[in-house]
Symmetry: C2
Subunit: 336 residues, 2 copies
């Protein structure tokens, strides 16, 4: 039985009540009262386009708070743009809703988007709403801009470049374990910190655009450090060596891993980090140190780019704190 107060309104009312206010700050979205929006890059710039979809029960839990679902969906796209050196401008949203979706859910979802629009200076400019007999599904398409020809790519890493990463790794993967109560004996504050890192990514939007001109290749870490390093190596046709002892860990993650060293794998392959992994020539070190200070976000050198090995194939080698190669059972995960 559906309570009339909580029942979702029709499509036009849903747009007018919950979505049109999110477009109010962007005149070329015409208040979502037209069929399309207009967007043009600033002079000398071009647009960077990215899309990511999320499915309830696959990418988030059905009872996750709606505002966090909204913010995560938006932030994973903003993270991609940051990893490409782009400044986010706008996004479109396809909302595919089961009939059980309530007005309360929509209100919280829209409030989450409103909060993040204010934080990240982006605007909803269009979208589509549909009913589904299946799980709630979201698709976000984000548009950012970079100077023409300057988008940071997976391609471009050169032999001798350093491998660097923003922030700390493994928090989200350990946070998911904490939420599943798979971490025994962890302090409540540490578990809370890690869970929050899983639930609400911090896209490195202040760092990403300033890597243009410094980074030779760049990607945001969603599949895990090793998998995303491999993505750079595959397209750049180089190999990478990563010193695991230098991988930056938060105090909470460090404590967890010290008590259960096998959990270091979470930091190397867990994914959902939404930090930026990039390569840069050694002489960028000074500029990168200043950038880290300006943005108050750590930038840590964790390895180096090398030529292809014997097999002639791109490879990612992990070294332990004695400089010995490590083996990994799995190199990240894919969606199928």
């Amino acid at each position: 039985m559906i309570n009339r107060d909580t029942r979702l309104p029709g499509e036009f009312e849903l747009i007018a009540e919950f979505l049109a206010p999110l477009a109010a700050g962007y005149p070329d979205a015409f208040g979502l009262l037209d069929d399309a929006a207009v967007i043009a890059p600033s002079p000398g710039h071009e647009l960077v386009a990215k899309t990511d979809a999320l499915v309830s029960g696959v990418h988030f839990l059905p009872d996750d708070p709606a505002d966090l679902v909204a913010r995560k969906a938006l932030r994973v796209n903003l993270s991609d743009l940051a990893g490409k050196g782009a400044v986010a401008r706008a996004y479109m949203l396809d909302l595919i809703l089961p009939h059980t979706t309530t007005r309360q859910w929509m209100a919280a979802f829209a409030a989450g988007l409103a909060a993040d629009q204010a934080e990240f200076a982006v605007h909803l400019i269009g979208g589509d709403t549909n009913a589904t007999p299946g799980p709630l599904t979201l698709a976000i398409m984000a548009l950012g801009e970079v100077k023409a020809g300057a988008m940071l790519r997976r391609k471009g890493a050169s032999v001798g470049d350093r491998v660097l990463v923003t922030g700390t790794l493994g928090d989200a993967a350990l946070g998911l374990k904490a939420l599943r109560e798979e971490l025994s004996g962890i302090a409540g504050t540490a578990a809370g910190f890690l869970a929050d890192r899983y639930r609400l990514p911090r896209p490195r939007v202040s760092v990403g655009p300033r890597l243009v001109g410094l980074a030779s290749a760049s990607i945001d870490i969603s599949d895990g450090l090793i998998a995303d390093m491999r993505h750079i190596c595959d397209v750049s046709v180089v190999s990478a060596v990563i010193e695991t002892a230098r991988v930056p860990l938060s105090p909470a993650a460090r404590t967890v891993i010290l008590s259960a060293p096998s959990l270091l794998t979470a930091a190397l392959t867990g994914g959902d980090d939404y930090e930026i992994l990039f390569t840069a020539p050694p002489d960028a070190a000074g500029a990168l140190a200043r950038l880290a200070q300006d943005c108050a976000i750590p930038i840590t050198e964790i390895g180096r780019i090398e030529a292809l090995g014997h097999g002639g194939r791109p490879d990612v080698t992990l070294l332990n704190d004695k400089g010995q190669p490590l083996m990994l059972a799995r190199g990240g995960w894919t969606h199928f």
Copy 2:
């Protein structure tokens, strides 16, 4: 039991085998080997962005041919761009697939996109693939371009403007009835024509961009003539009068409606027409006649724009062939 030959490959293989070839003609998609694509409008132009999602069982039937599903999904977006006067450039695709999706389905789906990319000169530039426990779901985000400031809008219809429409109306709605065997005694060729018009929209991409400078307001007809006319009237703050006897019908639709006059409603409210409904000042008539001839697509005047009536609210009035107002039970449909 899943046959190994038909089982869908993993995400990376799926992209490499089926989707990357669709990006081959667009260098700034980087072969789908990066995290985002680059797009910039031509000098003096801006981009027009539109998204539409389709859900299996809601917008198409689960056993509809995959190539037609792909082409319809792309074409409804191209129709929106045409209705805005934009030339389509590129699109992104979110594919949300049940585990039962087969390799054969994907191959046919990609072949459908390839055929339409060639026909409409657009390119896949990015996307996302995900698994779902629910129905197959697609989201397409299309990007086109118009001269800066020239996007045709729902807003702009003025008192005295004529109401015009491309092509013929009602074919798709009657085609759906034909597919459901709800049309008795219809000839096989007529049923086939109508069913094809339902399955495969013909977005009026040759006409739309040439309406820039001629049309005062414009929309593509997806919700039905009356509902989309109302959309123009609401935003333009005018009323419209439509002479139903002038609504253009295909020979097949005319035959069906002559034998069952109540089916005229299908032409007025059925939707899925993907023709362009627009308004233009009377002095555009000559240019519009030449445009129709150039494009070999009928452009028919079906009514006029009037001032708001007594109530001060936008309204759409239908007149029968004697100039008397008609009543309609419903003015189109929404998705909820």
